[in-house]
């Protein structure tokens, strides 16, 4: 059996508010194999987003080890971490985080500006990503000209355009109506099944979590 894509051991994370230590995650042990669609569920404040941020390498653990894509990311410096994220992580946010001054095409192209791809190669990648999410006809639209569901699909295209190892989604349906949420979950399911993408999704929504192959619950900072 191959090495899990995410391997977390004895992870502990706390924040300081003034001089008061606030523990967020305790003794987390988690293995996620390549190609798995994992849903992280739990009530507000349970530490789901913190765990996702740690896996994404935008936050550091207080103690414990975590290897993501085979790399001990807690040991990377800021520059190495940025490079690692650009290569391995595709992030999908609840509020899409599209740049309002850029078209759908340009938003999706954004991560590719960090690569050495030529303009022509970038165009091919962007068009492919947008066609996968079903927005090939909306490339020149600005975010304000798209519905919430379409904006989230652009955000998904942006997350997959550089073909990252891991897709991380933080409440991807949290800002959407029922139908749009359904479309997004179908799309994530397709990415997992057809393109074998490893997905870790934080959600409150049990219907969204149903699409995942594994559901893990977090409560008061501990994995159940």
């Amino acid at each position: 059996m191959s090495e899990p894509i995410v391997k977390i051991q004895n992870l502990y994370k706390s924040y300081y508010r003034d001089s008061l230590e606030i523990p967020v995650l305790h003794n987390i042990n988690l293995d996620i194999p390549q190609g798995q669609f994992t849903a992280l569920m739990g009530p507000s404040g349970s530490g789901k987003t913190t765990l996702l941020n740690l896996i994404a390498g935008i936050d550091k653990p207080t103690s414990g080890t975590m290897a993501v894509t085979g790399e001990d990311i807690s040991r990377l410096n800021e520059g190495e971490m940025a490079k690692w994220r650009a290569k391995h992580i595709g992030f999908i946010f609840q509020f899409y985080n599209l740049l309002p001054v850029l078209t759908a095409y340009e938003n999706v192209e954004l991560p590719l500006l960090l690569t050495n791809l030529s303009r022509k190669e970038r165009k091919e990648h962007v068009e492919t990503a947008l066609s996968i999410v079903g927005l090939g006809e909306r490339m020149k639209h600005y975010p304000r000209q798209l519905s919430g569901g379409q904006e989230q699909r652009v955000a998904i295209a942006r997350a997959i355009v550089s073909d990252p190892t891991l897709l991380l989604a933080d409440e991807p349906t949290g800002d959407l109506d029922k139908n749009s949420a359904e479309e997004i979950m179908t799309l994530l399911g397709r990415l997992n099944k057809e393109f074998n993408k490893t997905i870790i999704m934080v959600t409150h929504d049990p219907r969204a979590a149903e699409k995942a192959s594994v559901i893990r619950n977090l409560d008061k900072g501990e994995l159940q």
Binding site: I58, D59, F93, N97, L99, P100, E106, L113
Partner: protein, 385 residues
């Protein structure tokens, strides 16, 4: 998509705010440039002075006269090559508001010592042959619509009575710093009348202008001239033409210092206008910057985007300001030509205005850059726009 495109679109994200900021910058740059030009105009006389020319005047004040007999004695001082003299006439042309400078001079030597006053040879010949002849500057002729052959009447104030002149020639300066608003005529015309009407004032002139053979000896030659007239009834003070011009400017020191302070305050205002716009942009884009870093963009990418945006706005304001400066400056130059004949916006002022705008663009981006770099990605992502 290029980074420059993102920078320019960010700059235009809040169009009204950007337009108001650019207009504010443009007005400030224009005001800064105009003030610098006023100060430059003040110094035009000093700039136009020649290093090989000295001015000898009465030791007490320029308003006291010197005997014309000094001319030969000064010419004997070793190192003095040539000499001419002039007197302030102070006549009124129709109305006192039509003020312009009028000088009674020794015709031939004056234009020898001031070769930068260019007069066509035939007009010079006509001037030398007519005791009432006048050589007027191009700017003055343009102002009153005069032409060669016109009769001009002045009412004397220092030299009382009605004085009739004939325009015999028009001079142009050999460079833009040369005042083209002077009215120059033959000293003999007033001296002859003084001999008849006020003999005590005959044979008196305002100042001498000397040409020396070696500018590095100016101090030594000046001392020797002044020593020659020590303990005479009219002691002299000799200085370089530049010092002479600067002594007039020194009378306006307080005004010039005030103008300089205002020009620095304007730079401060420009800075605050742009810094405020950039600070607002930084506040609005906390989560956006955090998100960019999540994608893998580094601190220096954000520095480039923020600095670029600040520079784009500053450059737009700077360029708009320079266009305004050109338009308004040209109008002001024409309107004030009789008071500031040297009022012209020189290329260095445009360059200084643009460099100032660019430096302000850089300075205004510092706070937003520090803010964008300091904020933790996780904290930044929590901020909802």
């Amino acid at each position: 998509m290029k980074v420059l495109k993102l920078i320019t679109r960010n700059a235009g994200r809040h169009k009204l705010r950007t337009i108001l900021t650019v207009l504010g910058l443009a007005l400030a740059v224009m005001a800064f440039g105009l003030i610098r030009t006023f100060i430059d105009a003040w110094y035009a006389g000093a700039r136009a002075s020649a290093p090989d020319r000295l001015v000898t005047r009465h030791a007490v004040s320029i308003i006291f006269t010197l005997p014309i007999a000094y001319k030969e004695q000064i010419l004997q001082v070793e190192g003095v090559k040539d000499i001419t003299f002039g007197s302030w006439f102070g006549g009124i042309y129709i109305d006192p508001k039509n003020f312009f400078a009028q000088f009674a001079v020794e015709p031939e030597s004056f234009f020898r010592v001031y070769p930068e006053y260019i007069v066509p040879p035939d007009q010079m010949q006509a001037f030398l042959q007519d005791r009432r002849g006048v050589i007027a500057g191009q700017g003055l002729v343009d102002r009153f619509g005069w032409k060669v052959g016109d009769q001009i009447s002045l009412i004397g104030t220092i030299y009382p009575g009605d004085w009739q002149f004939v325009i015999r020639g028009i001079y142009q300066g050999s460079n833009p710093d040369i005042d083209e608003t002077a009215f120059v005529f033959n000293y003999d015309y007033i001296d002859e009348r003084m001999k008849q009407e006020s003999p005590g004032r005959a044979g008196e002139i305002g100042w001498y202008i000397l040409k020396i053979d070696d500018p590095s000896r100016a101090a030594e030659i000046s001392s020797r001239i002044d020593a020659r007239f020590d303990n005479s009834r009219a002691e002299t003070r000799t200085e370089t033409e530049k010092e002479f011009a600067l002594s007039f400017i020194a009378m306006s020191d307080a005004i010039i210092i005030g103008l300089r302070i205002i020009s620095y305050l304007i730079i401060g205002v420009i800075f605050l206008v742009l810094a405020n716009t950039m600070a607002m942009a930084a506040r609005e884009r906390v989560s956006e910057n955090a998100f960019m870093r999540t994608l893998g963009f580094r601190g220096y990418h954000l520095v480039g985007l923020i600095l670029g945006e600040s520079l784009v706005i500053a450059a737009m304001g700077g360029i708009a300001g320079m266009i305004l400066l050109y338009l308004v400056g040209t109008g002001v130059g024409v309107a004030l030509s009789q008071f500031f004949p040297g009022f012209a916006i020189n290329p260095a002022t445009y360059l200084l205005a643009l460099i100032t705008a660019v430096l302000i663009g850089i300075a205004a981006s510092i706070f937003p850059i520090v803010r964008a770099l300091r904020i933790n990605i996780v904290d930044g992502l929590r901020v909802v726009d």
